[in-house]
């Protein structure tokens, strides 16, 4: 028994020495290195939007690895970027609590969150807690516009929310412009367009933006019926019958992955005779999972969406790495904008030379970044609303079961096929 006690005392002594060495000795080399910069990265990685959400998370992780691999943030002593990941489940209340959670765990910057509803719910948290928030994906205009308005009217002091993604209204403007250009290029003049959309914040906002842009541009084609459906839908057969009854030349759908899986087979089955399907901008039409499920129903579908600039060799390299790390998926809108988001934040931190929220916001406002991998209309800058006016869309088409950029001409990697060939 005594013997045993001595052993234990000796053990404790040894442990004490070891612990002392640990606190005094080992931290020495670490002290030279700056503490990691924590970025809360929140996306819907489970739930109905899990596929794009997981793509976003992987894109962000790849960018963080690239920054860290190249020596971290040099202006901050080579500080590494550490991602604190969160999941909105596409539920605004969850998005809000996840933002709170990552901030409580030390997040100094927020990025997210793909769906407009959750993103809008995270905005007040960022403003209240004074945490700079870069919206990597989310289109609804009010997300930034509401904050800009509150700051302008003096209710809030500083805008912490910035967005590097096209807004709903800019989606609409570009879509109406591309519609006209594509029709002209193809030498056809469709007259009747039916707009169909998912009735959530994102769908409503994009549909409104499309209709407003149409009203402003007064093109030769008209929107003959507008058909919203509750999202997620249980059945779209009657909606498609109604679209068919409007005798459309073009169906313009604003979908989510699940509703696209209902809509496209239904359009085929009901033999809706159209020149083509041209989406004004939405998920569900081009992702690897959707192509695997919908197969030929997506062939020749055109969509005006944010897209990667594959003419940039760095994009091709990132796409190759992404394909390896995702198990064969394509580097697309979602992975791409989240990748650019982290790269942009790294650039902001280099210029801010600090993680102080005011310094980060000042650097965000002064952004003029040209390293993005997506298709932009110019350098990434932020306007008075906190939006990047150079975040634009590209018209892509599903050709041979792959999404390819077809318009505008300078971005095109293939010739567009329109009207679609008769089956």
């Amino acid at each position: 028994m005594r013997d045993h006690q001595i052993h234990r005392r000796r053990f404790l002594e040894a442990a004490g020495v070891a612990a002392g060495a640990a606190t005094l000795g080992f931290p020495l080399p670490l002290r030279a290195q700056a503490p990691a910069i924590k970025i809360g990265v929140i996306h819907p990685v489970t739930g109905p939007l899990a596929e794009p959400g997981q793509a976003c998370r992987l894109g962000a992780q790849m960018a963080a690895d690239a920054v860290n691999g190249a020596g971290g943030i040099k202006a901050l002593g080579g500080a590494r970027i550490e991602l604190l990941v969160g999941d909105t489940q596409t539920k605004p209340d969850v998005g809000r609590t996840e933002a709170e959670r990552v901030i409580n765990q030390g997040a100094q910057i927020l990025m997210g969150s793909f769906d407009s509803g959750s993103t809008a719910a995270m905005v007040p948290v960022a403003q209240q807690r004074r945490v700079p928030f870069l919206v990597d994906i989310a289109a609804a205009d009010p997300i930034t516009a509401n904050v800009a308005k509150a700051v302008k009217e003096g209710q809030q002091k500083l805008q912490f929310v910035y967005r590097n993604f096209p807004t709903g209204s800019s989606f609409g403007k570009k879509a109406v412009q591309y519609f006209g250009e594509v029709f002209k290029e193809a030498g056809v003049s469709p007259r009747r367009v039916v707009l169909m959309y998912c009735n959530d914040l994102f769908g409503q906002n994009n549909a409104k933006g499309f209709q407003a842009a149409h009203a402003a541009a007064k093109p030769s084609w008209e929107i003959v019926d507008v058909i919203p459906w509750p999202e997620p839908p249980q059945d779209l057969s009657t909606e498609v019958s109604r679209a068919k009854a409007a005798k459309p030349d073009i169906i313009a759908p604003i979908t989510r992955p699940a509703s696209a899986q209902l809509l496209f087979p239904e359009l085929r089955k009901q033999r809706v005779d159209i020149m083509g399907i041209v989406g004004p901008g939405s998920p569900g039409l081009y992702e690897a999972g959707q192509l695997a499920v919908l197969k030929h129903d997506l062939e020749y579908v055109l969509a005006s969406i944010p897209w990667a600039n594959f003419k940039n060799p760095r994009t091709a390299k990132a796409a190759e790495e992404y394909q390896k790390r995702s198990g064969g998926k394509t580097f697309d809108t979602n992975s791409g904008y989240s990748y650019d988001g982290i790269m942009l934040l790294a650039d902001v931190l280099e210029r801010a030379k600090s993680v102080d929220p005011d310094a980060v916001v000042a650097a965000l406002k002064a952004t003029n970044y040209t390293g993005g991998l997506m298709q932009y209309g110019g350098p990434i800058v932020f306007n008075e609303l906190g939006d990047n006016p150079n975040a634009i869309t590209t018209m892509i088409q599903i050709l041979g079961q792959k999404p390819v950029a077809v318009w505008p001409k300078e971005a095109a990697l293939a010739k567009l096929v329109f009207p679609r060939p008769k089956a």
Partner: protein, 290 residues
Amino acid sequence: MDLTLVGQGLLNGLLFGGVYSLTAVGLTLIFGVMRVVNFAHGDMMVWGMYLAWLLATRLGVDPYLGFVVCAAALFAFGLVTQRFLVNRIVDAPHEMQILLMLGVALILENAALVAFGPDPVRVRSALTASTIWLGPIFVDVARLVTFGVAIALTLALYLFLTRTDLGRSMRAAADNTYGALVIGTDVRRVYAVAFGIGAACVGAAGALVSPILPFQPSGGLAASVTSFNIVIIGGMGSLVGAFVGGLLVSLAESLGAVFLAPSLKELVSFSLLVIILLFRPAGLFGKGVS
């Protein structure tokens, strides 16, 4: 108003109503026999869908045959759930029953999430691409078959309950549990079988819609709410009510999509519920409060 569109809307609503009916019949049977509202009903349906998906993708079984296996699997699941869980709360207050059934629903939904992932999937059947054209109106063959099978199953259940000994003892236990005990009915067995049959109905319904609708683990709650709505409209515990209610709700939603903005179609079915509750609180075929 375009008459073709109205006709198409009526047909779409009617054909989809078969599935609503079969689902609601399962729910009303469980409620009628043991006065327990099965809030896990929609999640059982989702499992029926995933079982059909497994059979189709792993073994190449068409869901229009596989539904038998799905119904059998859900029957066994229902039997076991009743014996070990539901049986303990048959006589408990409603709030305790609801808690237990919501718990079962949560477990089923999240087990599906772990097992199958969150992405929407759909099952391919040889029938999903075929359509019949009656002039300008089209009939989706998959929906027609789904409708036919759902109606046949509901009819078979009705015959079972009215023509067989076990069916009669089920109705006896539902009408008067004490009386059924007195004449020597094994009420425990009757309860377990009733829950099993209710689960089998919804399992079959899930398998039958799997070629028509894409599905994902989170879809259970919406299906539960729709079934519950139908059962209240038809009259709690009434088989005929659930059957008619299913067709009615589906027709109302489809016509709502024709005449109103389709995003308001659920407003139509829930308005129907409110109207029924105001003017016929026991439901269309309910027996009234005894």
